[in-house]
Protein backbone atom coordinates (compact mmCIF):
# COMPACT_ATOMS: atom_id res chain seq x y z
CA UNK A 1 0.00 0.00 0.00
CA UNK A 2 2.61 2.45 1.14
CA UNK A 3 4.87 1.22 -1.59
CA UNK A 4 2.16 1.76 -4.15
CA UNK A 5 1.58 5.23 -2.84
CA UNK A 6 5.28 5.93 -2.88
CA UNK A 7 5.53 4.70 -6.44
CA UNK A 8 2.56 6.75 -7.43
CA UNK A 9 4.13 9.81 -5.87
CA UNK A 10 7.35 9.17 -7.75
CA UNK A 11 5.44 8.84 -10.96
CA UNK A 12 3.48 11.98 -10.25
CA UNK A 13 6.66 13.85 -9.33
CA UNK A 14 8.21 12.81 -12.59
CA UNK A 15 5.20 13.95 -14.56
CA UNK A 16 5.31 17.34 -12.89
CA UNK A 17 8.08 18.21 -15.36
CA UNK A 18 5.64 17.50 -18.12
CA UNK A 19 3.10 19.76 -16.48
CA UNK A 20 5.71 22.49 -16.35
CA UNK A 21 5.85 22.46 -20.13
CA UNK A 22 2.59 24.41 -20.10
CA UNK A 23 3.86 27.45 -18.22
CA UNK A 24 7.00 27.17 -20.32
CA UNK A 25 4.94 27.33 -23.49
CA UNK A 26 2.97 30.30 -22.16
CA UNK A 27 6.17 32.07 -21.24
CA UNK A 28 7.66 31.45 -24.64
CA UNK A 29 4.48 32.73 -26.15
CA UNK A 30 4.81 35.97 -24.24
CA UNK A 31 8.48 36.18 -25.22
CA UNK A 32 7.82 35.90 -28.90
CA UNK A 33 4.54 37.77 -29.17
CA UNK A 34 5.20 40.61 -26.77
CA UNK A 35 3.40 42.82 -27.49
CA UNK A 36 5.84 45.18 -25.78
CA UNK A 37 9.52 44.70 -25.21
CA UNK A 38 8.87 45.01 -21.51
CA UNK A 39 6.49 42.05 -21.72
CA UNK A 40 9.07 39.95 -23.49
CA UNK A 41 11.73 40.78 -20.96
CA UNK A 42 9.46 40.01 -18.06
CA UNK A 43 8.71 36.67 -19.64
CA UNK A 44 12.44 36.02 -20.00
CA UNK A 45 12.80 36.75 -16.33
CA UNK A 46 10.11 34.24 -15.64
CA UNK A 47 12.15 31.58 -17.45
CA UNK A 48 14.56 31.57 -14.55
CA UNK A 49 11.93 30.24 -12.22
CA UNK A 50 10.85 27.58 -14.66
CA UNK A 51 14.41 26.52 -15.36
CA UNK A 52 15.16 26.24 -11.69
CA UNK A 53 12.01 24.26 -11.26
CA UNK A 54 12.79 21.84 -14.05
CA UNK A 55 16.33 21.38 -12.81
CA UNK A 56 15.12 20.74 -9.30
CA UNK A 57 12.46 18.30 -10.44
CA UNK A 58 15.05 16.46 -12.51
CA UNK A 59 17.25 16.27 -9.45
CA UNK A 60 14.30 14.80 -7.65
CA UNK A 61 13.46 12.18 -10.24
CA UNK A 62 17.05 11.07 -10.80
CA UNK A 63 18.07 11.50 -7.20
CA UNK A 64 21.21 13.28 -8.34
CA UNK A 65 22.38 16.44 -6.73
CA UNK A 66 24.15 17.57 -9.90
CA UNK A 67 20.91 18.92 -11.27
CA UNK A 68 20.29 20.96 -8.20
CA UNK A 69 23.70 22.48 -8.78
CA UNK A 70 22.44 23.56 -12.14
CA UNK A 71 19.48 25.22 -10.48
CA UNK A 72 21.91 26.93 -8.16
CA UNK A 73 23.91 28.29 -11.08
CA UNK A 74 20.81 29.38 -12.96
CA UNK A 75 19.38 31.18 -9.97
CA UNK A 76 22.57 33.13 -9.62
CA UNK A 77 23.48 33.99 -13.15
CA UNK A 78 20.18 34.66 -14.86
CA UNK A 79 19.90 37.84 -12.88
CA UNK A 80 22.66 39.29 -15.05
CA UNK A 81 20.59 38.80 -18.16
CA UNK A 82 17.64 40.53 -16.57
CA UNK A 83 19.83 43.46 -15.60
CA UNK A 84 21.15 43.68 -19.13
CA UNK A 85 17.66 43.58 -20.58
CA UNK A 86 16.45 46.25 -18.18
CA UNK A 87 19.44 48.39 -19.01
CA UNK A 88 18.71 47.92 -22.68
CA UNK A 89 15.09 48.84 -22.28
CA UNK A 90 15.83 51.86 -20.18
CA UNK A 91 18.51 53.23 -22.46
CA UNK A 92 16.96 52.37 -25.77
CA UNK A 93 13.53 53.44 -24.62
CA UNK A 94 14.32 56.64 -22.80
CA UNK A 95 14.34 60.02 -24.46
CA UNK A 96 18.07 60.67 -24.02
Amino acid sequence: MIETLSNALDWLSASLVVVLMVPLALTFWRMVRGPGYADRFIAIDMLTGIAVAIAALTAGTTGRREFLDVAFGIALISFVATCALAAFLERKGSRR
Binding site: T58, T62, R64, E66, F67
Partner: protein
Protein backbone atom coordinates in the same frame (compact mmCIF):
# COMPACT_ATOMS: atom_id res chain seq x y z
CA UNK B 1 12.69 9.51 -29.94
CA UNK B 2 15.48 9.64 -32.51
CA UNK B 3 12.97 10.64 -35.11
CA UNK B 4 11.84 13.62 -33.06
CA UNK B 5 15.39 14.71 -32.40
CA UNK B 6 16.28 14.33 -36.06
CA UNK B 7 13.25 16.31 -37.10
CA UNK B 8 13.88 19.09 -34.61
CA UNK B 9 17.56 19.31 -35.49
CA UNK B 10 16.71 19.41 -39.19
CA UNK B 11 14.19 22.20 -38.73
CA UNK B 12 16.48 24.20 -36.48
CA UNK B 13 19.45 23.87 -38.78
CA UNK B 14 17.31 24.84 -41.75
CA UNK B 15 16.26 27.96 -39.87
CA UNK B 16 19.91 28.68 -39.09
CA UNK B 17 20.84 28.40 -42.74
CA UNK B 18 17.91 30.57 -43.70
CA UNK B 19 19.05 33.28 -41.32
CA UNK B 20 22.62 33.01 -42.54
CA UNK B 21 21.38 33.65 -46.05
CA UNK B 22 20.20 37.09 -44.99
CA UNK B 23 21.99 40.25 -45.96
CA UNK B 24 21.78 41.76 -42.51
CA UNK B 25 24.85 41.18 -40.38
CA UNK B 26 22.93 40.66 -37.15
CA UNK B 27 20.52 38.20 -38.71
CA UNK B 28 23.49 36.30 -40.02
CA UNK B 29 24.83 36.34 -36.50
CA UNK B 30 21.57 34.86 -35.25
CA UNK B 31 21.83 32.26 -37.98
CA UNK B 32 25.25 31.26 -36.74
CA UNK B 33 23.91 30.96 -33.22
CA UNK B 34 20.94 28.84 -34.30
CA UNK B 35 22.99 26.59 -36.54
CA UNK B 36 25.55 26.15 -33.77
CA UNK B 37 22.80 25.08 -31.40
CA UNK B 38 21.59 22.57 -33.98
CA UNK B 39 25.07 21.17 -34.50
CA UNK B 40 25.55 20.84 -30.76
CA UNK B 41 22.41 18.76 -30.64
CA UNK B 42 23.77 16.65 -33.48
CA UNK B 43 26.83 15.90 -31.38
CA UNK B 44 24.61 14.88 -28.49
CA UNK B 45 22.54 12.79 -30.87
CA UNK B 46 25.65 11.19 -32.32
CA UNK B 47 26.62 9.94 -28.86
CA UNK B 48 23.15 8.30 -28.68
CA UNK B 49 20.62 9.88 -26.36
CA UNK B 50 19.63 7.04 -24.11
CA UNK B 51 20.12 8.12 -20.53
CA UNK B 52 19.18 10.79 -18.03
CA UNK B 53 21.86 9.84 -15.55
CA UNK B 54 24.66 12.40 -15.51
CA UNK B 55 28.14 11.05 -16.18
CA UNK B 56 29.37 11.79 -12.71
CA UNK B 57 30.78 8.99 -10.60
CA UNK B 58 28.90 8.94 -7.31
CA UNK B 59 30.99 9.13 -4.16
CA UNK B 60 32.22 5.75 -3.06
CA UNK B 61 32.27 4.30 -6.52
CA UNK B 62 35.24 4.29 -8.84
CA UNK B 63 33.62 3.86 -12.22
CA UNK B 64 30.72 5.35 -14.02
CA UNK B 65 27.48 3.42 -13.91
CA UNK B 66 26.68 1.60 -17.13
CA UNK B 67 23.44 3.50 -17.52
CA UNK B 68 25.10 6.92 -17.31
CA UNK B 69 24.96 9.23 -20.28
CA UNK B 70 27.83 9.19 -22.76
CA UNK B 71 30.29 11.75 -21.41
CA UNK B 72 32.36 12.30 -24.54
CA UNK B 73 29.72 14.15 -26.60
CA UNK B 74 29.07 16.31 -23.58
CA UNK B 75 32.69 17.31 -23.42
CA UNK B 76 32.76 17.98 -27.14
CA UNK B 77 29.60 20.06 -26.95
CA UNK B 78 31.03 22.03 -24.09
CA UNK B 79 33.99 22.93 -26.22
CA UNK B 80 31.74 23.71 -29.15
CA UNK B 81 29.45 25.89 -27.04
CA UNK B 82 32.36 27.93 -25.79
CA UNK B 83 33.84 28.32 -29.24
CA UNK B 84 30.46 29.21 -30.65
CA UNK B 85 30.01 31.83 -27.97
CA UNK B 86 33.43 33.32 -28.69
CA UNK B 87 32.66 33.53 -32.38
CA UNK B 88 29.26 35.08 -31.80
CA UNK B 89 30.81 37.64 -29.51
CA UNK B 90 33.46 38.50 -32.04
CA UNK B 91 30.97 38.84 -34.86
CA UNK B 92 28.82 41.02 -32.62
CA UNK B 93 31.81 43.26 -32.04
CA UNK B 94 32.42 43.30 -35.77
CA UNK B 95 28.82 44.27 -36.38
CA UNK B 96 29.00 47.04 -33.82
CA UNK B 97 32.18 48.38 -35.34
CA UNK B 98 30.71 48.11 -38.82
CA UNK B 99 27.70 50.09 -37.74
CA UNK B 100 29.85 52.72 -36.13
CA UNK B 101 32.07 53.01 -39.18
CA UNK B 102 29.55 52.72 -41.97
CA UNK B 103 26.22 53.43 -40.37
CA UNK B 104 24.68 50.28 -41.77
CA UNK B 105 24.61 46.54 -41.35
CA UNK B 106 22.82 45.84 -44.58
CA UNK B 107 25.11 44.05 -46.95
CA UNK B 108 23.63 45.77 -49.95
CA UNK B 109 25.08 48.99 -48.63
CA UNK B 110 28.36 47.42 -47.60
CA UNK B 111 30.62 47.15 -50.58
CA UNK B 112 33.83 48.79 -49.45
CA UNK B 113 35.83 45.61 -49.74
CA UNK B 114 34.55 44.75 -53.18
CA UNK B 115 35.06 48.28 -54.42
CA UNK B 116 38.63 48.44 -53.18
CA UNK B 117 40.67 47.98 -56.32
CA UNK B 118 37.74 46.62 -58.28
CA UNK B 119 38.18 46.67 -62.04
CA UNK B 120 34.47 47.27 -62.41
CA UNK B 121 34.42 50.55 -60.54
CA UNK B 122 35.75 53.71 -62.24
CA UNK B 123 39.15 54.72 -60.90
CA UNK B 124 38.22 58.16 -59.59
CA UNK B 125 35.28 56.61 -57.81
CA UNK B 126 37.37 54.26 -55.78
CA UNK B 127 38.07 54.86 -52.09
Amino acid sequence: MSLVYALAIAVISACGVYLMLSRHAVRILFGVAVLSAAVNLVILYAGRIVSTVPPVIPGGETALAVEAANPLPQALILTAIVIGFALVAFVAALALRLHRSTGTLDNRALDDAERLGSPFVPTEDRP
